[in-house]
């Protein structure tokens, strides 16, 4: 299927509407008689609510309803449990919280929801919100993980002593201790993974509709996972059958993990719609997004590597504290698990002893954000390897090649419970180094030095996990012979309308223009789990493959009838059935049309032609790759410029290289943002959020990046029929260590061996100045 099938750079089928202002996001949906909601967010990171006086707000012009936590309790609304706890994977049971839709008694983070105002207009709702008087008794706040986990810290949840919700551990402590005692070399690092926010340019938004006659709701929400929203809200909050809520996630303006699961506002607009008898719309302002969205990362880790005299790793040890925020909310557990499991990377490390503690803090809850634990794990391993290379005097590419798991060792079971199926890790790193002109560095370095600038470089390797849970895809023909891909996954920038169509074209031979894409509506898609954790290509792609195979088998009896031939004599190729050894054939489109004939049951027994396929990410896949980065630092200003950035990735079968390159670029932009620019900062004393706008939280922009060189060197995944590996997280996983290792390489001559993320010009300049002072 050359031209439009798997592997072709097909231009995206969904682009036209985005380029003409015709995309339809939740914010673009307005309904008749729609009212507007605003939420009162806690201005305190920790406080008792003594009382809430809503009388003046209720009497304000245009107000339709003012709702508080007491009202929510009276209405019987439940709270949000975490999506899962580690116990589901045989780990600790842990301490879990329920997050109320509105807090009645004690706020535990800035941005905790305290009241909802609904009014005729947004301006009236905002004015009325100002009239709510909450009598808070402010209490001391613990916003820093180390402070919250310190002995004697006040309990954020009274029943959870030490503020540790759960501890996870992998490995063999005794064997690791022995290996460290006998090792020729030990290197150690202490790292902080800065707190980030996804900051999709489309803020979160929700529009709730209640149909009194049907006693049923519709929710339009910016979500990566509409069926998951339905399940959580119906089961945990509204406590109604799932058949009474339709969730629509139309075009969604960026997810990145932020919009994987529902937030209190999704339930609040539904409740308010019933209370007011009107559609109720809520859209976060940018400040509210910074205050009340989930945050991500925020981990402190100490790690050590034991090596023999030749630079072979013999053991690894790590202990981490990882923030949960104020609740076990959404998928907050996932990054903490992944940050531990992936520490070994694609290296053969002998034995290990790694543990992490999940710590409550008085901050926004933490959840998944592009990479979700993978960047934390990779940052530790790749920082340790650079320190080891320096201590042992081995080239940094060489020490990695020496320790990489060999292709002949596949399948390879890691000591943290994963089984890698495929990959040529040393080959990838060497290929990336060649592509980046690794050997030409010295000349470029000398040129930089002549210009008064410090040049540094890095090579890092990464492996990550793609795919999670199961999913379902459906192919549904219409009477004219067109086919709809009905997707359980959700595309919000990944280009699924195109990549799934390429697959259907490849397997069923149908032209792209005959393939329609349906997603994001629980009434149109029977079931699905949305998109996160680089899962759509694996579970969506493989489920679609099975659906396509089933279509051929379901169509076969009708095709045999049309061709007056035995089913066994038919072969399927190029979009149709052929009778072997003859020139007689019928297209799949004609067979599909025949299945809609009005009289008599079609051959095969069913009216219409449709089939579903299901796939589970067990096992998942393991995308991997290598990054080489070269940067220049101006020692007078601390300014960093990325001179060149090269990536060679193994994502198995590449469905659409243009779309995959776009995914890698997006990950790079976010990972480089973490390394150089972004940080959610709370004042340690007051607990106030200091980064509440794009003026304070530095987002990556057009002038922060060079032209990225991205190539693919694929070893097909051996555990799925397409050979596919995920691509969504890849760029964000390896880029923080690539940047920081290159930066430290540039600064070693200045006596600097560590620098914290984000490595801002101010931080770099101060480090240089401090060390100059030390030497003076």
């Amino acid at each position: 299927m050359a031209g439009f099938g798997i592997g072709q750079p097909v231009i995206r089928l969904e682009d036209a509407r985005f380029l003409t202002g015709q995309g339809r996001y939740v914010g673009d949906v307005d309904l008749a008689r729609q009212a507007h909601a605003v939420v009162l967010y806690s201005p305190h990171p920790h406080a008792l609510i003594r009382s809430i006086d809503t009388r003046a707000a209720r009497e304000a012009p245009g107000v339709l309803a003012v709702l508080t936590g007491a009202d929510a309790e009276a209405a019987g609304l439940g709270g949000f449990p975490p999506l899962f706890m580690p116990a589901v994977r045989g780990q600790a049971v842990g301490f879990r919280t329920l997050r109320p839709v509105l807090v009645a008694d004690r706020v535990r983070c800035i941005g905790d929801r305290v009241a909802l105002v609904v009014a005729e207009s947004l301006a009236e709702a905002r004015d009325a919100l100002e009239r709510i008087v909450v009598d808070y008794q402010p209490l001391p706040a613990l916003v820093d993980i180390e402070t919250a986990a310190a002995p004697g810290a006040e309990a954020i949840w009274p029943e959870c002593h030490g503020n540790v919700a759960f501890e996870l551990r992998h490995g063999d402590p005794a064997a690791t201790a022995t290996a460290f005692e006998r090792a020729d070399h030990v290197v150690s690092v202490r790292l902080r993974n800065n707190r980030l926010i996804a900051a999709s340019i489309e803020p979160r938004c929700a529009l709730g509709v209640y149909d009194t006659g049907a006693d049923a709701w519709t929710l339009y929400t910016a979500s990566q996972n509409p069926h998951g929203v339905r399940t959580m809200i119906c089961d945990a909050v509204l406590r109604v059958p799932q058949s009474r809520l339709r969730v629509i996630a139309p075009d969604v303006g960026g997810g990145f993990g932020l919009k994987t699961n529902p937030y209190p506002e999704d339930a609040l607009v539904l409740w308010a719609a019933k209370v007011c008898g009107r559609p109720v719309k809520w859209v976060a302002s940018r400040s509210e997004s910074f205050l009340a969205d989930n945050h991500a990362r925020d981990q402190v880790v100490e790690g050590a590597l034991a090596l023999d005299a030749t630079g072979r790793i013999v053991a690894l040890r790590a202990q981490a504290l990882h923030a949960l925020g104020s609740y076990t909310f959404s998928a907050g557990v996932a990054p903490i698990e992944t940050a531990l499991k992936l520490i070994p990377g694609f290296y053969d490390i002998g034995t290990l002893d790694v543990s992490t503690r999940a710590v409550f803090t008085h901050t926004s809850p933490m959840s998944s954000y592009r990479g979700a634990g993978r960047p934390e794990a990779t940052f530790l391993m790749e920082r340790l390897l650079d320190e080891a290379a320096v201590q042992l005097g081995i080239d940094r590419l060489e020490i990695r090649v020496r320790n990489a798991i060999a292709p002949a060792s596949m399948p390879y079971a890691t000591p943290t419970g994963m089984v890698y199926d495929s990959g040529d890790f040393a080959g990838l790193m060497s290929a990336c180094a060649r592509a980046a002109d690794w050997s030409g560095f010295e000349a470029r370095c000398a040129a930089s030095a002549r210009a008064g600038r410090l040049r540094g470089r890095s090579i890092v390797g990464y492996i990550e996990q793609g795919g999670r849970f199961n999913d379902r895809m459906e192919l549904r023909f219409d009477p004219a012979g067109g086919v709809s891909v009905v997707a359980g996954t959700h595309s919000h920038g990944q280009g699924h309308a195109t990549t799934y169509a390429q697959m259907v074209h490849e397997w069923l031979g149908l032209p792209l223009e005959q393939i329609r894409f349906v997603q994001g509506d629980t009434d149109q898609v029977p079931f699905g789990r949305g998109s996160f954790a680089a899962r759509a290509s694996l579970v969506g792609g493989c489920a679609l493959r099975l659906a396509a195979d089933a279509i051929i088998e379901r169509a076969r009896p009708m095709a045999a009838s049309i061709l007056e031939s035995a089913e066994a004599d038919l072969t399927f190729a190029q979009g149709g059935f052929q009778v072997a050894g003859t020139d007689r054939s019928v297209s799949l489109t004609e067979v599909a049309r025949a299945a809609f004939r009005p009289s008599g049951l079609p051959v095969g027994g069913a009216v219409g032609l449709e089939a579903s396929g299901s796939w589970a990410a067990e096992p998942p896949n393991y995308p991997n790759g290598a990054h080489v980065c070269e940067i220049e630092v101006d020692p007078e200003t601390g300014e960093v410029s990325i001179d060149r950035y090269t990536v060679v990735d193994d994502i198995g079968t590449v469905v659409n290289p243009m779309i995959c390159i776009g995914q890698v670029h997006g990950g790079l932009a976010q990972g480089i943002g973490q390394a150089l620019l972004e940080s959610v900062i709370h004042d340690p004393d007051s607990g106030q959020l200091l980064t509440g706008s794009f003026a304070d939280y530095a987002m990556p922009r057009a002038d922060d990046f060079p032209a990225f060189e991205v190539g693919f060197r694929s070893t097909p995944c051996s555990t799925n029929p397409i050979g596919i590996k995920g691509v969504g997280e890849a760029g964000a996983v390896a880029s923080p260590p690539a940047i920081i290792n290159a930066l430290i390489d540039a600064l070693r001559s200045q006596g600097i061996h560590e620098i914290e993320m984000p490595a801002t010009p101010a931080r770099i300049w101060q480090a240089i100045a401090r060390h100059r002072g030390d030497r003076a």
């Binding site: 003026a695 990556p700 002038d703």
Partner: protein, 155 residues
């Protein structure tokens, strides 16, 4: 009441003078192609043209737009520069989630309307006010160059 010129048409709008043009377009005129991102002129999602120059409509009071020509994404297919930009955006696989792309296209077409041979530095300068969280910056740079070439008759 104020009368503003949007995409060549004179429109009467019932908004207070300090209402940002963004909300007049979206809420009053039903033109939702222009997006809200931050409300503080820091992200560029709401970019429109005022007499051909890129401005952030979230921070432009409607009173300041009276007597000027507002152009939005909805009209860009009808201009040679806008058409060239949209065509090269598709060919270079620029959009991902699409949300910021109205603003990106407005900034890019304003650049190309006055500079048909933009350098990388010109592009960075013109585009650094438009955030794309999906990270499509490399593709945008390539697409602007391709659009420039096509406008110059070299594509």
């Amino acid at each position: 009441m104020a009368t503003i010129n949007v995409n060549g048409r004179s429109m009467k709008v019932d908004a207070s003078p300090d209402t940002p043009v963004l909300w007049v377009l979206r809420d009053e005129l039903g033109m939702t192609g222009t997006k809200f991102g931050c409300g503080m002129a820091l992200c560029g999602a709401c970019t429109v043209h005022l007499d051909g120059a890129p401005v952030r409509s979230c921070s432009l009071p409607v009173s300041a737009a009276v007597g000027h020509r507002i152009t939005t994404i909805e009209a860009m297919s009808g201009t040679p520069v806008g058409k060239a930009v949209q065509t090269s955006w598709v060919a270079n696989d620029v959009p991902q989630c699409g949300y910021c792309q109205s603003g990106q296209i407005m900034s890019a077409s304003a650049l190309l309307a006055k500079n048909r041979k933009p350098s990388d530095a010109d592009i960075d300068q013109a585009m650094s006010g438009n955030i794309c969280r999906c990270g499509t910056y490399n593709q945008i740079r390539a697409a602007i160059k391709q659009a420039a070439a096509s406008l110059n008759g070299r594509a």
